[in-house]
Symmetry: none
Subunit: 240 residues, 2 copies
């Protein structure tokens, strides 16, 4: 077994403190000097470990002030995505996952949603009727589906949905728009309306069916467009 590095020792120690809630979000870590004392390592190693934790967004450092445990917000973590580029296939894989997760969340949502939640959901549908740009639709679409996952009352599921939509927004926004813009406004709004009404009627199965259908339509549309683009590219290739 390979020996753990000193900085990893620090990393694990602090992570454990956070996991076990000994240090809660917003609270301050022991100072670097103190941590070095506790773990019997130099301040250099302590800093290296904390640097990593800060890079993945678990803690934030304030010069002169101390190091604090972050509140769990995805914005903190998204910055690391800049160097990545997601490809077409990634989009399809992601939607396949959504099909599985959304069908679960909408099911739970239909069972657990409150009156207030239903009202909010209705307002989003209302807004959808009056959108101007595809960008607006993306935001409403995101709000709609995240509201559903929120009312699934499964926080873990909701967190994963938040991650998925953040990644979507960050990396695939343009692609997503090409998909949604190609079909008629009315159709995609109707799809959401059907899901909404199934939720209102507390019909878990129906809500799930409409959701799966909604996602499969998006996937199909994308695959078709992708193939067209693929064939066009091929034609251009043969022309040469």
């Amino acid at each position: 077994m390979r020996k753990k590095s000193k900085s990893q020792k620090v990393y694990d120690y602090i992570e454990e403190l956070v996991i076990s809630s000994e240090i809660k979000p917003g609270e301050r870590l022991p100072s670097e000097a103190k941590l070095g004392e506790i773990l019997n390592v130099s301040r250099v190693s302590v800093r290296a470990g904390i640097e990593k934790l800060s890079a993945i967004g678990l803690v934030s450092k304030k010069k002169g002030g101390g190091t604090y445990v972050n509140k769990p917000k995805n914005e903190n973590y998204l910055s690391v995505f800049t160097p990545t580029l997601l490809h077409n296939t990634d989009y399809l894989e992601m939607m396949e996952v959504r099909r599985a997760l959304d069908s679960l969340s909408v099911q739970l949502c239909a069972k657990n949603i409150s009156e207030a939640g239903v009202k909010k959901l209705g307002e989003i549908i209302e807004h959808m009727e009056h959108i101007q740009s595809d960008l607006d639709f993306f935001d409403l679409d995101k709000k709609f589906h995240l509201l559903i996952s929120k009312h699934s009352k499964n926080r873990f599921l909701h967190n994963i949905h938040i991650i998925i939509w953040d990644v979507l927004q960050k990396t695939l926004r343009s692609k997503y728009n090409t998909v949604t813009s190609s079909d008629s406004h009315k159709e995609r709004i109707d799809e959401h309306k059907r899901i909404y009404e199934a939720i209102v009627g507390k019909d878990e199965d129906l809500a799930r069916i409409y959701t799966v259908r909604h996602l499969e339509r998006i996937i199909d549309t994308f695959v078709c467009e992708y193939n067209e683009a693929y064939h066009e590219a091929k034609e251009q290739e043969t022309k040469k």
Copy 2:
């Protein structure tokens, strides 16, 4: 505008080098000393910057060898989301999500798995027969289900599975053991064996059914034990 820290300067410089492909994946970065010279900062600052890049998986360090640019794999970046999920986790909620995702991945796996993959899966089953401790079982269980999700050929799905098992290992290991240890060894191994055989037979539906049944049994067992513990606690309460 706030002044950039030295370590951030290093971070940005290297990130730019990688994005502009001046240093391609697999290639080595200039040494810490050289980078410090180029950017006119001390080696400490260089190290801090590189430490961050290493934490988000853009580069890897080899003691004595140098620092290398990683191949751009999404799993490197998705892992940064683990901290978000560490907060507010609940075992049952996680297993509910697993039920949805595992049923998808096992389905895809049965369709796409290679001969070599089947063989590896069989070896894990073989190992399960000879385990001694529950800790070993956790590792094999993890390997088994991650191998399945890997052969689903959906990388996004696989990445989420990796995160889930990471969170499971970090937060719920003790709990998980209490669940698995209460039922007989034979039963839980048989469950995996059934899933394995369905995969071997390329029977997608059967594999999915056995997987769902497997997870629901775990959930049920946990709920029962939880209720028992809950009632015991209540009894103790009333005694007082």
